[in-house]
Symmetry: C2
Subunit: 375 residues, 2 copies
């Protein structure tokens, strides 16, 4: 599924291609998150044509609860339901069960939880999340895992990792036994866990490397640990992951985090940050981060970045955007969401160019510094 | 400013053109409401290119409070602030003072009120609303009036109307004395009041007809009175309004209301209904009104109206739109807002065609019936 095209000479950055049933993705790539079958505030046309998203994410936990599997199955899968013809990756719901549901319990069988919507009771097992993702029809599905909180004791992290490994075997078996529903192939990614313990992280990387998953995700990071620790473990994990498979760092992150992840050999990223922060007025630019709600922008009748191809940057003034966001106008949230995603995808395109001409290693530290500015 | 091109043979419907500094408007027309310098949920590009809005509304009361006159003046007027090159009409704020502000008092000088945002105290006078609208730079500005509540006693309605008439003279004087700020001409419309009393309505129509306003609005209707009473007074008012000036029925209404208004000689309409109701899931179509939140749409995997040119009707299924709106997804609100406005503007285009070929009189009663269906 993954083809490694080039490795940078001074970092672990990789240029590659990921073939899916709905098209080929150039990596490194950022995947906008479309929790409920919509990337919040952005139309599918804008995502494809303007933002140039190559793949988006859907959340199994959320889609399972709303609209529910019956509706998506009747529609012929998530692609048809939401009219999105490019690749989709779905998570397994594991992370949401632990972060959203009020009342959850874990045992060997799976995760038992109460819906955060109506309190109804459900169980996700390694097998039925495969079944659900067959119904969703995503191009890439994820295993059910347990994401241990940070910090976790060594014993907790070890037991949790071992459970995730046993679930991985069950999930893969189910994947091989259950056929796709809509005539297109799906891939399945394993997920490395192990908390913040080196030996566990190495053990989990090796374990996942030994299975026949089509790609491997690095899970359990970006959950509250210090940023250097996230970089350290990402670096450690990719050392033990096979070169011929795509690596996906789940739930990461800021633009600077993406560059640091790429430098450590990551190919795929997803995060709600560009859209969630947009709605609150945080704008990511190539010169740093802007809080458009700040009073300094109230009378700023200029453009934020006249050469950047987004309406927020080069069509409307900062004073206008400030006014929209301060007044919670939908159009302000939409402009900011489109901009932030356009910026994330632009950044990844820059990254790919820099790896291709082998200037990534010298370019990215300065770029990280710029990206971390507060304007 | 207004050119009457044709009058229907069996109704009072009129086909006309309204020339403004930012372009010529074909009438009858519906004006989308852009309260705070944005038509809620819709981009300016979509408004112009897809919805085919010819003129939009801005609210003086809201823009005066947020972002404030200083900001708009620095930007060079509302057109430049919001990047909208087509005509803009601004109301005077009179209606909002009475419907929104917590604490208001009226005297001969003007309307004293507390901001609904921060409780600060302000006064609108017939003169200073002209000044504010010179700053906004709208193509058409409105007089300050008092909109009496329904029901009002005869004495209240009479005194209120007489005050509105005295304010009209002061407002016109101010308009003639204060020059435009940005090099383009602005027009000023008078507003007929008189509550729900025939003699007052006639008196107010005659009074406004005798002034030299560029157009005349029918105010004080659609404020809670029975619908037949609104039609009756609209009909009465237009009998006394000059044929050579545009007539604008303020704050109206449903698609059926628009047709009934056109039949009674109205040229211009505005209302928040298409966007406000869209956000709650009410969709207007040529076959009637749909509440997309209803459970009947949950598993309806078909299009609402495959031949109607909006994404809501012909790109996404009802089940998907239902899912978006039920989950308060921004994209659902955006799709519904764009659709409803596209529908309103489409309807007015149909109206103009029907007046042009003189089939309006036979067509509109059946269409009103269809539009009032609940699907």
């Amino acid at each position: 599924m993954y083809t490694l095209k080039k490795t940078a000479s001074t970092t672990k950055a990789r240029l590659g291609e990921l073939k899916t049933a709905h098209g080929t993705i150039e990596t490194p790539i950022f995947m906008p998150v479309g929790t409920l079958g919509t990337v919040k505030g952005v139309s599918q046309d804008t995502l494809a044509d303007q933002i140039k998203a190559q793949i988006i994410l859907g959340n199994t936990y959320h889609l399972y609860l709303r609209p529910g599997c019956d509706i998506i199955k009747e529609a012929g899968g998530l692609h048809k339901f939401m009219k999105w013809d490019l690749p989709i990756l779905t998570d397994s719901g594991g992370y949401q069960i632990f972060s959203l549901s009020d009342n959850r319990e874990l045992d060997e069988e799976g995760a038992h939880f109460q819906s955060h919507i109506d309190g109804s009771r459900h169980t996700f097992t390694p097998e039925n999340v495969v079944e659900t993702q067959r119904i969703l029809g995503s191009d890439i599905m994820m295993l059910l895992d347990e994401c241990p909180p940070y910090p976790s004791s060594y014993d907790y992290a070890k037991n949790s990792m071992e459970l995730t490994h046993r679930w991985a075997k069950r999930g893969r078996k189910a994947f091989l036994e259950m056929k796709p529903l809509y005539g297109h192939e799906q891939a399945q990614f394993g997920i490395v866990q192990g908390g913040t313990y080196k030996d566990l992280r190495i053990e989990s990387s090796k374990f996942m490397a030994d299975q026949d998953f089509e790609g491997i995700a690095i899970g359990g990071l970006s959950v509250g640990e210090p940023i250097d620790m996230m970089y350290e473990f990402t670096d450690l994990n990719t050392d033990y992951l096979p070169k011929e498979k795509a690596r996906y760092l789940m739930g990461v992150g800021t633009p600077a985090n993406l560059l640091e992840g790429v430098a450590r050999g990551v190919d795929m990223f997803d995060c709600v940050m560009p859209t969630r922060n947009a709605r609150n007025g945080t704008i990511f630019t190539r010169n740093g981060r802007v809080n458009i709600r700040n009073a300094q922008w109230k009378e700023h009748h200029d453009y934020l970045d006249p050469d950047f191809p987004s309406d927020l940057c080069s069509k409307y003034t900062m004073a206008y955007i400030h006014h929209l966001i301060r007044n919670n106008e939908i159009f302000g949230m939409v402009l900011a969401s489109i901009h932030n995603l356009t910026f994330y995808l632009w950044l990844m395109e820059e990254v790919r160019k820099r790896i291709a001409d082998d200037t990534f290693g010298e370019w990215y530290p300065g770029m990280v510094e710029r990206l971390e500015n507060r304007i």
